[in-house]
Symmetry: C2
Subunit: 354 residues, 2 copies
Amino acid sequence: MAERGARGVPRSVPAVAVTRGGRVESVHRGSVAVVLEDGTLLASLGDPRQGVWLRSSAKPFQLAPFLAAGGEERFALATEEIALAAASHSGEPAHTRLAAAMLAKGGFTEGDLHCGAHPPMHEPSARAVWAAGKSPTPLHNNCSGKHAAMLLACRLMGLDPAAYWRKGHPLQKRILASVSRMTGVPAARIARAVDGCSVPVFRVPLASLARAYARLVGDGPRGESPAEAAARRRIAGAMAAAPEMVAGTGRFTTDLMREFGGALVAKEGAEGVYAVGVPAALARRGGKAVGIAVKIADGAERGRDAVTVEVLAALGIAKGARLARLRKLAFKPVLNVRGDVVGDLRTLFRLGSA
Amino acid sequence: MAERGARGVPRSVPAVAVTRGGRVESVHRGSVAVVLEDGTLLASLGDPRQGVWLRSSAKPFQLAPFLAAGGEERFALATEEIALAAASHSGEPAHTRLAAAMLAKGGFTEGDLHCGAHPPMHEPSARAVWAAGKSPTPLHNNCSGKHAAMLLACRLMGLDPAAYWRKGHPLQKRILASVSRMTGVPAARIARAVDGCSVPVFRVPLASLARAYARLVGDGPRGESPAEAAARRRIAGAMAAAPEMVAGTGRFTTDLMREFGGALVAKEGAEGVYAVGVPAALARRGGKAVGIAVKIADGAERGRDAVTVEVLAALGIAKGARLARLRKLAFKPVLNVRGDVVGDLRTLFRLGSA
């Protein structure tokens, strides 16, 4: 099943088939890592050691330095605002209003956001923008909460906010240290490039992403300061408590966290990345938290949620009626334009123990 | 590199890498078949014998029975209308106006179209629909030209137009015979399912799709009637002469046919399908036409055009300044939301001789 590709192409295995008329039309390949906080690999698929650009799965760790420095108290941040700062939100009115309010707390406006403008992911919201004769603004960008928090962090830390997105900006250096601490990868070995929203994006092994999510909901990295521990717990708690702010209406991430009643933390990243932190009580792995990281090799969103749900099922974390509901969310039927079912998604893998 | 997958997953090879910061972020795998009219496989990649749902690459063959029965004369069809009937158009005003005019020639309206409504692929046209306080109609569906032609075909042939989209409708049976004739696959061995626009979709080996496109621009299948031959040539000629009707503004298919000055015929299909018919004069393969068929394994559009261009380059069909321009079209850089270049596409394959 697996193969080692040439020239930087990581191994992967067929993960999800897209069928039409009962026959395979397309196939999404992928890799998975299931890891304990100490880095122990519990199970995997494809190449768990492949480097992945974290994309938006890094958001909790990009937010952490701001909260550890006292951002919540300084700006009287609500749970929803903290969740939005770790979000890839859908650009619904509730999201853009909150992002604008966060900016205002630091004396900023949407013009200070460097993320760029794209239409809301939430289609009715996108249509409403056009129907009103307007154009999308940086507030609609799914990363506007993260960028608002970065601007507030500059205010809090006394840093120049003008170039907050640059790799060399002191805030981005603190963020790199945060990503290093949580993933367990030395900063010097974390490659950086430019994310869709213009800030630095980080590259670590897939298993290290999983480890970071185990730590997010677990005991945390060794040597963590009390402020860092409090920030980490606050971020995980806010994401789980306000999942509608972390993604949006009809989005898998929101529905997955809701389905577990806030008992786990989940986050997607662009190009087929998904990460889940499962606290010890839910993971039932000898009192240890578990982290899961998924990468769909071709970068597709289709199939990513299905792989995530089947990994949760294989680990015994999702089961029974909950699993049935999650499968309904993740295995969206293939429809024609009129809405008739013409095909489906089918998983092709069996999660192997490491 | 290649592998044979389990449970109906065809072989494929890494075809295009998507990079960010110079490192591979995602990979699209694919298969390619390069074939002569007689079915000789000249070159291939992955599994050229895998079954593929033709999707919109079948449109020229879905249109052929209508023209062979005299549709052009009966409805005084212009070249642009014939091209639109074989199109996956972008729903620009020029497309929807023409589709409406075609319907009117048979006393039909957009309410007779069974394709369903989706927003125009051409984003400014989609925005204009919403900005005008309207919703997309079936005319905006990329298949509305094909459906208009099917309705006109019913009028011409004295068939009930009410259920023209059904598998058992006499028109769809004639279309199946057309697909069989052009692909060289017996009708009984062509699986059918439901396409995105609700009409039957056909499944044949990838190499048979390539063969059909060689025949489209070549001598045609044996036993072809003079009317069938004339229809085939008219369709190929109309697509090449009015490429803006076959796709639309900024679309690769339109630009590729323009770049060759109408000397070849090209058509995409959903889920990563692409087909090119290269006439003998351009192909330089002993006076024989060549057909090319591409399938991106994960169904992505991204990478599909790049593979097509590199196959044309490997065959010596695209070269020099033309090849440079085509590569610019097909290898779109990866941009962040602000429009900065943050990555690129790179081909990973070398086309093997069969």
